[in-house]
Symmetry: C2
Subunit: 347 residues, 2 copies
């Protein structure tokens, strides 16, 4: 398992009758090296196919070119797209992405943070595990000099770097869209209230209702742990039994919204005429379900890219940067599930 063509700066030095340090300096564009020597050295390095041994560099600098990425599960459309964006951005900066999944369990989150720390990642990008409530392990990391940046699922009340979407505004937009379609009894499927993200979407929802002079009815606000398709269906079943059932649903994700559509259809409820529905994320399924599902667009790939750019900024700055939050915009994509006939021209 030995690398064969292991050309080192020592080999180059011997061949050119200079010292290894000269080679090192030339290759690192140190200005104190003579123009000509530098050029000759680079030339030879290219010829010999010299590749700096990144492990040696890391050992010397006590820092790798790896960024750890910790997520709940990576095989979800939104997450994998986010990571895809990170990978691109990181690679263009000469960094690698090192992935860990917590499977939304605190134990795994702890272990993974630990494992990544051991691998000496230069920085860590985290989308919190569902049940995470204790953030001490991240604080330790930060205290240890490893910058941590949170993305999408952020911790509550912690002064840290964040890249998020404006969940309040998105919730407002979604609800506002339903109101614009003439809906007045709008229900909301929310997720675990432990998460800032769902709290915010809900706040946006309530704010839009209040602004429009509509009542905020507690019985119309349902929380589901996983917001699965099944949960979406059963929540819809529950709502439809009301003497005065809702005429619209704003679901905090697409999966539960699809569940709502399928259930409503199976009960002969017409969508969007009797029940307008909007989801969240713009997952691929939105364009497949019938009627097509309106949703809120997340710039997932871009979020990942921006997170890495921000991380690079932090890494390249010697002094400690104050915690900064980058907020990305969302928008409504209106489709058949919420566009009522007499409003369709309006879009």
């Amino acid at each position: 398992m030995k690398r064969k063509n292991a050309v080192t700066i020592f080999d180059l030095a011997k061949e050119m009758n200079v010292s290894p340090s000269t080679i090192s300096r030339a290759l690192n564009n140190n200005p104190t090296i003579g123009k000509n020597t530098a050029k000759a050295i680079k030339q030879l390095a290219r010829e010999r196919g010299y590749q700096p041994n990144s492990i040696a560099v890391s050992l010397r600098k006590q820092q790798t070119n790896n960024i750890g990425v910790l997520v709940g599960r990576m095989n979800r459309p939104f997450i994998s797209s986010m990571i895809a964006g990170m990978e691109e951005a990181a690679r263009s900066e000469g960094f690698n992405i090192l992935i860990a999944q917590s499977h939304d369990k605190l134990v795994n989150e702890l272990n993974s943070v630990h494992a990544l720390q051991k691998s000496l990642v230069s920085g860590l990008v985290v989308s919190l595990a569902m049940e995470s409530v204790d953030y001490q392990h991240f604080v330790d990391l930060i205290d240890d000099g490893i910058p941590v940046l949170f993305i999408d699922r952020i911790p509550a009340g912690l002064e840290v770097h964040k890249v998020i979407i404006d969940n309040f505004k998105a919730g407002y937009q979604a609800t506002r869209h339903l109101i614009d379609q003439g809906c007045t009894r709008i229900a909301h499927f929310s997720g675990s209230q432990k998460h800032v993200l769902y709290q915010e979407r809900r706040r946006g929802y309530e704010s839009a209702l209040v602004e429009a002079g509509l009542p905020v009815r507690e019985e119309y606000i349902l929380s589901a742990s996983a917001l699965s398709q099944e949960e979406g269906a059963s929540m819809t079943e529950y709502l439809l039994q009301f003497p005065e059932p809702p005429d619209a649903i704003f679901a905090a994700n697409d999966t539960s919204a699809v569940g709502a559509i399928l259930h409503a259809k199976s009960k002969g409820v017409r969508i969007p005429e009797e029940l307008a529905i909007i989801g969240f994320n713009d997952d691929p399924q939105c364009q497949i379900v019938e009627p097509q599902l309106s949703s809120i667009i997340h710039p997932a790939v871009e979020m990942g890219r921006i997170a890495i750019e921000q991380m690079m900024h932090i890494l390249h700055t010697t002094e400690t940067l104050p915690a900064q939050t980058i907020v990305l915009d969302t928008s409504v994509i209106a489709r058949a599930s919420s566009l009522r006939e007499h409003k369709k021209s309006v879009n």
Copy 2:
């Protein structure tokens, strides 16, 4: 950016009045160390929160604990699930997964292989870029002592380690299923014929037809570059114009199959009565489209897991292992898009 609690074996050695090598040996379970000393050392290491510096270890061994994973795009359901499986398996072995995307471009594939090689990954798991035809860069890597294992999209005619599904059999199964439903004019959506994977699925399709005494009609076999939903729709449109249009389609992926369903429905073609359809991959969309799409199940997560286990086996073996191919089984999952009324009891 300095790690603070950097406890080293040297620190422990000083504290215990032994030499660093003793510490190292004890922590590595070297049997030549006295039971008691070893125990005491491990105890102290735990107390002081000692963490071996993995970079130093890597430099010494000229090998990291990272496995490179190179795929086309990671934000596709099948791929991200595969990587999820790899991540789990690798982590349980103390390895990290380092991701690179080729975006199905040869240039990126080359660059990424290069970048991963520079980061001194211990091994590389590759799912080929669409257009990859030249495999020299992988051969170089292998010659350089870095084991390479191909998964799913494998190179043609190269003696290498592989983890794949039996695409021939899967193609046979899918077609056989349609034949069992009473279909006799079965069309096939295939992908780029440069890929072994699509060649095999097609061979399986043809084999099932021949076995059943049905003709293999060239005009029923269509190839699409990306097998997108649009391509699926337009290929269906094309097929439906035949004087004797097909009564079934076996699509080499779900996306194009969904395109077929949507187009056929829009033309008033009844599914599955007039046109039975089966896809490939069992992507989430299968259960959302109406009628629900029959498909071929891939054990994606397990494939990833097995690939890593195989890689570990290779890494832990000192001599060079002969190239081995692991073939995983697939099965048909029959849903409404292909289950004809009079056959439904059969399943």
